[in-house]
């Protein structure tokens, strides 16, 4: 396992993944997740699974501090991304979100041109300028496999694209910030099987250069793409293990029941 910041001085620092320590999230006093600790290994796809309301999405949204913007949410504990506790005192939240990308359940492109959707955030973060933003846009759209479909209408509206293409555009928009971690909140639940397959292949490929966390309701999907599985129930970790173990020989009786479809 690649851990610890021994290579901090070099350009390509070794990724440390995401470490969650004693994380509790409450909404108006009611705990949604309680004291969760887990290491999301670098360059692996970790699927977060569990029955509805178990806290999957709450956990995912803690990692890039999305709860900051919801009144009544209280977060305690630590989330360490690349050696930095994102809930630390002098953390630059915008930089955290630059390094931790997020893809939502439903595509939510900005009401701007296709090119601007991808180029807007890199320009805002000073990662690109007027001169080179076009190259970045092309690179990211190529990565997600959308370039051929949209190259002739980069300045057109994204709402003319299919739902699947819109989601790929949103993925390109996130990747344009070169994140170290990407959070996916049921990213394919609104998509057709072909696009789902395409995005799953992309996840595997992306995990070569970043840490991938995916919340999914779809166990088949989890077994197809994940290296590790974190199984939650009622806001607590039931089992955190490799995907192979989770699907074939889980330690916990509840995991066995969930995998075989008896709960969930």
């Amino acid at each position: 396992m690649q851990l610890a910041g021994t290579n901090v001085g070099t350009q390509e620092a070794v990724s440390e993944g995401v470490s969650v320590e004693g994380l509790t999230v409450k909404f108006r006093g009611t705990p949604l997740i309680e004291g969760i600790s887990n290491l999301f290994e670098p360059n692996k796809v970790t699927a977060i699974v569990g029955p509805t309301g178990c806290g999957k999405t709450t956990l995912l949204r803690s990692i890039n501090r999305m709860h900051d913007h919801v009144a009544g949410m209280q977060v305690s504990g630590k989330v360490v991304v690349e050696g930095v506790n994102v809930y630390g005192a002098d953390v630059n939240v915008r930089e955290v979100r630059r390094r931790v990308g997020m893809l939502f359940q439903r595509p939510n492109p900005f009401p701007r041109s296709i090119a601007e959707n991808v180029g807007l955030a890199p320009r805002a973060h000073g990662l690109a300028n007027r001169g080179n933003v076009r190259d970045l846009v092309q690179e990211q759209l190529t990565t997600v496999g959308l370039w051929d479909a949209v190259s002739s209408r980069l300045h057109g509206s994204p709402f003319g694209l299919s739902g699947g293409q819109q989601q790929l555009l949103c993925l390109a928009r996130t990747l344009a910030l070169s994140p170290d971690v990407i959070l996916l909140d049921e990213p394919t639940s609104a998509l057709d099987p072909d696009t789902t397959d395409h995005i799953e292949q992309l996840m595997k490929k992306l995990s070569e250069r970043m840490t991938v966390l995916i919340v999914t309701h779809n166990l088949a999907q989890a077994s197809r793409i994940s290296d590790n599985v974190l199984f939650l129930m009622k806001g607590n970790v039931v089992e955190a293990t490799s995907a192979r173990t989770f699907f074939h020989d889980p330690a916990d009786e509840r995991s066995r029941a969930y995998v075989s479809g008896r709960i969930g």
């Binding site: 890039n64 999305m66 913007h69 939240v93 915008r94 930089e95 955290v96 979100r97 630059r98 990308g101 997020m102 939502f104 439903r106 939510n108 492109p109 900005f110 009401p111 701007r112 601007e116 807007l120 955030a121 805002a124 973060h125 709402f159 739902g163 949103c170 928009r173 996130t174 910030l177």
Partner: protein
Amino acid sequence: MESRAPRFRHLKGSVFWIICGIALAAIIAPAVAVVVSVLVKAAPELKWSLLTNTTLNVQNPGLQNAILGTLVLSLGVVVVAGPIGILGGIYLAEFAPRRAGGFLRFFSEVLAGVPSIVIGLVAYTAFVEALHWGFSVLSAIIALSLLTLPYIVKTTEVSFSQVPRSLHEAAIALGLSKITTIRKVLLPPALPGIISGMVIALAISTGETAPLLYTAGFSDHNPTPGLFNNPIGYLTYVTYYYVGQPGARDQALASAAAGVTILLVLLLIFGGRAITARQRKMVARLDV
């Protein structure tokens, strides 16, 4: 019971539809009556010389000074009330803590409820008298701005609040600053609504008379540069003043001014509706 219930429901339904129909007629009839009667009365008086002559011309009086004056005052409202109202609406929708927001909304509603003649009187006391601005373009523009500000604030706030939550979340997750989010992500879908609010504000300021009586004064000459001690003409005054004069020529001028005012307001309202329709389509697409 099973046989009676549907019949009773049908009866209730019919009664409801009839009441709705009456209410609809009560809204449409006066609106149509006002517009039609004014335009019918004005139609024979609408001639080219209205645009080329001023009210100073005794033989063949026109409305050039009044039309230009109304346009100048409307432009003033866009310049003064526009930025303040839009920024206020953005503050309410995106920044205001709950308590401050409630406080501001309350005062905005109070301002919207103050009769226009009272606003005129206040503006007269403060600007025309106390500050010695005299009857002036600026006093008039401020009075009209006070009157229209609540509408601009409200429509801006609503336009921003209607932008889907998912766009806010996308912007947050990309680490965009609040200012960038507003300018680049929220403003495009909110803009048509803001513009239609501005249009309503302009329609109101085009049609107002009371606050201008105390502040703009009136001038038979075309508007001249100068914000202070510089009275300015406007359309509604022509209707207000000349309808009380004995001569047939004066009566005709009053009708023509009313007709031109109505045409301007209709133009603004239809323009505003066209923009609102575009916005609805946009928001529907965003909701997919």
